[in-house]
Symmetry: C2
Subunit: 275 residues, 2 copies
Amino acid sequence: MGFAGKFRVHPHDTVHLGALGTRACRSMERIPTKAKTRRLVESIGDSQYLLYAGADRSLLIVLQGPDASGKDGLIRHVFSGVNPQGVKVTPFGEPSEAEARHDFLWRVHRRAPAKGEIAIFNRSHYEAVLAERVRKLVPREIWAERYALINSFEALLAENGTEICKFYLNISAEEQLMRFRRRLEDKSRQWKIDEADYSDRKLWREYQAAAEEMLRRTSTKIAPWYVIPSDHKWFRNYAVSRIILRSLRRMRLRTPRVQADIAEIKRKFHDAAGG
Amino acid sequence: MGFAGKFRVHPHDTVHLGALGTRACRSMERIPTKAKTRRLVESIGDSQYLLYAGADRSLLIVLQGPDASGKDGLIRHVFSGVNPQGVKVTPFGEPSEAEARHDFLWRVHRRAPAKGEIAIFNRSHYEAVLAERVRKLVPREIWAERYALINSFEALLAENGTEICKFYLNISAEEQLMRFRRRLEDKSRQWKIDEADYSDRKLWREYQAAAEEMLRRTSTKIAPWYVIPSDHKWFRNYAVSRIILRSLRRMRLRTPRVQADIAEIKRKFHDAAGG
């Protein structure tokens, strides 16, 4: 099994987030991972250029995970360094009033990547089977139907040439509390703190159960979920970069075919002009 | 006069692009500019975090300039390294059929930065007084009215807290031809070449005249134009980074006020839990 395979959820597989682990693989600890991640990020940049140039495929990256699991940090680490022209990040918070008057996929569909683009969803349509389910914002008969609707939606994107990678950043409840505490101690980040962050912790088990059902029912061949042990940021960044690069490479992106008659242009505009 | 002042077009000032120069200032050549630019880019990243956190101001960067003047390269150099969450790049090509059925500001208005965001326009609404004028796509009585409409539109954005910086990348006709030639020699970039790039060169003087009128009539106190000598890429990147950082600093961005009762949260959720 390759590296990506270790983290991929196979279609219909039962998932126990606790058993999958939140800490870096032991075998990895000796690798100088930061330097490796930097090189992976550079290669992602190179592939992104080809994606943009070719403009006939696209990449959608979906990020989910508990509060403080590192979705923002991951974006900052992996995608600073990639040309922002061609990368589109959308954070999905609670739906606005206007958004809520549409079906739950409407607002995400609008933000799907165009050909040549990478789109990153920081939270996503999956909130509709996570927060909305756990906080009982919609009844079971509504959210229970959503898994199939999501799978069809993602199949639609895939048909149009979109590669889809979904990452669930798996952290332990203890790590989350520690990160909240570090935020409390850091004056430059205290403004982010909200008591509501803590009240969601009471629903930790319900959130895990909802996430496990989501992973089982929506990890498909065309749009797999990867569960990334994320208590260690260096490992999270490394693993996600590596899997993203693998997906880009599998698209076999090439420099577009030359359309113009290069020799003719040289003769006409350069040699004649003495250029 | 400060650094930015050297390049700023004063309202109603007559502009001669030829006289403004396309080559780096002599006095700069000895400065280790690449390292300086790197530090400027890091500081832009720090300010961008505050902009994003505060979410009550925004920054709009408009890039114009002839083909091959380096708009794409500038974005890659200056904004790779800034967190893409909070940076939105829009390239404006020829209007689509649907866009063309609206007024000329409609499609750019939709891409204006939300509070907390940096928006970068790679070409912009100014094409409506450049290409559309020079190629005679619209009659004089239409484009002549557009300067005032543009100024009002930018005033609307400014009223809502948007800082606006407009850069005109000034290159010489000879430098453009040299860059086209380099592209011809580079197999990985040949796919970009189009004979039409050359036919626009016949209209070089008309483009310069249109740009000069645009600079004179739309450089305002709230939305100034900076004409950047851009024959040297290192100077272009340095000058634009420095002016962008200056604009961000003048916004006096601060970490948002802490809303939560930090002591209370510590007591309730951490000390009690033994965390």
